[in-house]
Symmetry: D2
Subunit: 358 residues, 4 copies
């Protein structure tokens, strides 16, 4: 039985903050599914929306529910849905794509020119129930707890970034140790990288970096990162830069730490244009730079599944588990940087823990 109303975290209008309201449970269209949300996690994008910064004000149309990282149990399927069924445990690819643009028709849906993003361009999932297109549902093994299942989406960003080139036997600099940086460090370790360096301003996050296996983590406010990287990396720059911070200074430091002929994969979003030395950092260096958006659909999801099933443990990166009601505390924590990943625990699964996979 699907209830008629639910709790939902809303951006009520064009102002900072959010409110928890009781609203109608949404109804799925013919190609959609209705999902009972079990856990949801907070992305940096959600903080932009919460803060109602310039980007958010220019893109969102409140009132609307926000949030996009989640997992849950399908409780209703639209009439034309045939890829999933009621009872399936799923996570969600949050890019809803057009299937008609050049990118979509050539296997590059992750850069669809007409993308609509859950919780940004269409209603989000910080709620008890959510409707998503069935094709965006990603079936997940019940052996994974909800707090891990919800992480597949943001972890997928890190997987897409790191595995967009060779990592095994390579030295890596991860700039930024927020959740995306921490995911990257854990992944590089799991993938047999040689040295995995990182930079991070916040002491608590540097500690988390150590917990997930960083070779050395630097405080760019004190350490000469470029020198230290070369010193610890046998005199050479790193083979790979995985940029997750979006900070101009970190990007510059990252490129300066990169070997001639190295790869720089950029995931973090600078909030505005900045001065950059293309001549020395990209051209003379013969660098390969790739911008990363979303997750390859669905190559990255298969990789993410394989990594989790293979034993990669993301749980040390979750530092806070909160009920949806404590959203103000959650966003305050995220703003402070005194956290790894924050997960909202929304509901319990309908199946017993450790139950057989479906």
């Amino acid at each position: 039985m699907v209830p008629t109303t639910m709790r939902a975290l809303m951006k009520p209008g064009p102002v900072a903050g959010a409110v928890l309201r009781t609203v109608d449970v949404p109804r799925p269209g013919p190609r959609d599914v209705l999902v009972r949300v079990l856990a949801a996690s907070i992305c940096g994008t959600d903080l932009h929306i919460y803060n109602w910064d310039e980007w958010a004000a220019g893109r969102l149309h409140p009132p609307m529910i926000f949030g996009h990282e989640f997992c849950g149990e399908i409780i209703q399927c639209g009439s034309e849905v045939d890829n999933v069924e009621v009872g399936d445990y799923i996570a969600c690819e949050t890019h809803v794509i057009c299937h008609t643009c050049y990118q979509c028709r050539t296997g590059q849906g992750h850069v669809c020119e007409n993308v609509s993003i859950v919780g940004v361009d269409r209603p989000g999932i910080f709620a008890d129930y959510a409707v998503i297109p069935a094709e965006n549902a990603w079936k997940t093994d019940r052996r994974f707890p909800a707090e891990i299942a919800t992480l597949q989406e943001p972890f997928g960003n890190a997987v897409h970034t790191a595995l967009s080139g060779p990592i095994t036997a390579k030295s890596v600099l991860v700039s930024g140790c927020g959740p995306l940086g921490l995911f990257s460090i854990a992944l590089c370790r799991f993938a047999g990288a040689s040295n995995v360096f990182a930079t991070e301003l916040t002491p608590m996050r540097r500690e988390l970096a150590k917990k997930v296996g960083v070779t050395a983590v630097f405080d760019p406010s004190k350490d000469d990162v470029v020198d230290r990287v070369h010193e610890l990396n046998g005199g050479a720059g790193v083979d790979v830069l995985l940029e997750t911070s979006g900070a101009a200074a970190a990007i510059e430091t990252g490129f300066k730490s990169l070997k001639y002929g190295g790869r720089a994969s950029l995931l973090g979003l600078p909030s505005k244009p900045f001065m950059f030395d293309f001549t020395n950092q990209i051209i003379f260096k013969g660098a390969l730079v790739n911008g990363i958006s979303g997750r390859k659909m669905f190559d990255t999801w298969y990789s993410t599944r394989a990594l989790l099933e293979g034993g990669l443990d993301l749980s040390p990166i979750i530092t806070h588990r909160l009920p949806l009601e404590e959203f103000e505390q959650a966003f305050e924590l995220l703003r402070s940087g005194q956290c790894g990943k924050i997960v909202f625990k929304i509901a319990e699964p309908s199946w017993a823990p450790g139950g057989a996979s479906r």
Copy 2:
């Protein structure tokens, strides 16, 4: 018989300009060859040296002969030379590499960390004779006239840039129609690109672009390049940006004209850092960006040879052929932009035109 003295175009000291002097013919070391120069061509780098700009003042150690693009006939070989012989007609790879750094030992000598460049870090070739390492000599078929043979080095830059990803059946924007841009246009046409657009401020160079087969060439001072490219390219951005201008505005326009998921290969050297929007132009766009330095050693040279032998005609790009004595006029022309490629005719080959290849 090797004479004892020769003409040489020198940067006499840390000042603008150059002087043509009579100097001793250099003597080859055991792994070098002495070459009788037949033709030499002028690179943008030579203009920086001639002008004695900040970059030149910080790097060169005058007095020295400059110039690096040339071809000639080997007239003497060092005692340990076994890859070429006296009488060989050669062009010259101008990057003298260390063979011991990581890059050199992994097939990426073009980004050698210890590179020494002919005419920049070591004596150049605007002279009657020149000494280069034998391994940098590239044997050339005598069917090619000297003014074409000397172009292999700069044309190789364009080949390296364009062929660092797919070109056939792709739409391309070449930004800048100096010699490197013109080479790129001619190459894209030869390689079966679909649309080949270009941007260029100088009318004369736009005319040259048309001569070598551009689909449409725009004047960025008047045309809305981004709109026009989309309009003529079926509503889509281009698949590939080949950046040869080094101008910040051209780079920005180029990226804005690039399709989501497109490739941007950067060859032109911006003279200083500039403001760039990584978020929208690289990251959200999922762009692949690669910096191009030199020529792959010697993959690019094999490609260059195959293209010329296959019939790609570079001669329309040569607009001026001058004796070395008229160097002032040559540099004035290059500074004005009223030219394509400028070639110094230094000497005649010792063999009859159309003679059999060696």
Copy 3:
């Protein structure tokens, strides 16, 4: 007005040959389109079906219409079709894919594990009308005559094969000069390959190879192909083998003509397993071998369009244009090998020649 009956070339039962019958015009499902066929071309697969060989007998379920290469005009759209509309001029991707297997979900639909092929696993198009899934319709510019538009599918095979690696500035051996080989030669020339060699037993097809620009074509029954290729290719093996014959002897000769570190792209289908020397032809040689099936969906189609729009002319490869009634002559011709591509002219377009594109 759609008529109720039409002509259709049928495989009436499990026997050799075919019959031209009058049958009901098929009706499109909600995601299908009904197409008025303008031209259709004959594939080697159709000859297998016509001959009712072992492969055909094991796969097809007669009675059924066969044929899969065609173009036409959409005259009716299913209720859910939104990517094309009535009046569109289209060609057809003949692989109908499942969208749910790993391959489909990772951008590799051309190797879908559950593929259903038009004219093989489902009704074909040697008829006045045909129904295909709307997503398989490929809009085509009206400037291209029907006999060219229908070639997009088989030409796409050659495009997929040749462009699965670099071609520009590379030397190539095309083994087999049937239509797929001829398409490959024409494409390699258009893409700026250096030398394009070919092998073919039939004199008439060797003449066609010369017509589309081959550097040299060999008769493997008389010429020592391996020696000749090396001799004409500067002493070296070729960079690329494009295998379109499916003949064991041609594959062996092709690999022996391939350079160490070269690429062999295999499109022709050997009729059964054969003896092959992996040690010397693949392993010691460090060869890269890729099997080609279908066309990348829809990357290859975009490339095919770009090539045709860019001026690549396939018309010299069409040697016979016949009405559907002369199917017996057509299959006899194909069996004899005394032909390039054979096209059935089925109907005239509803628009004036040279009319504006839609």
Copy 4:
């Protein structure tokens, strides 16, 4: 002080077996180094030489010392050597390449057309001292014991094979669990592969496979490998086949276990041509197949170093450590397959264990 004579394991003439003789210590040429051998390991190639099979008889010119996998201490350098020095601890790249062929000049020295292999085409290293070209010496950290340092060469074969495409998050089938297969399994595990399956006829080697972390190892004489792989791999074929056995049956089984669109990297050398179904196993499957020869020079060696320094432990794969005098037992063991890697302990290093790295 270099002694004048030494022990050396020789192939005395064109017959099976070997003899241990006292011979003159070789003298290095100007670009060579003289190495005091510390450990050497036995390759399958050495068994072919010992057995004096058809291949060996057709290639070697006895009398000569054989063996090529080793490590040691440089005790003398030729006059022109500048990349290593006396006292360096080194392993050896056994391909001595020409530097002048197309492959060498384009970064593909591992498939040099004029390669000369240590212990095959030139004197080997089963001896107290050995001379090798200085450029083939690979400096090794003294923290690694000699029995590990000598493994870098054969382990490099496995590294080249496995890392010639993505491994992280991929499912893999390793066919054959001799040393190359065991190295591959250990590497795939270290690199974060999901499932790593293997096939092997010998029970003892299947046990070794389990020791290094295989997901499941099959006995192809009893198990239906193709079925079992699909069953344990979620119903799908594997993403990657790493073929190390060279057995025709294993290659066939391996390809049948491979996913559509998968990669097959072939390292094991079939002793002769065999029947293979290209149509179904490569072409329809859209497989990517690459032949692996040697190690990329020196990319693979950098990777090998990074993997060992990162903690990949090869010691479980060494099953026997023998003095050179027990060579007959060693070859008998290898012939029986009742072993992993066999190492000859030749001498002790001149430095204290655990001494600082040089």
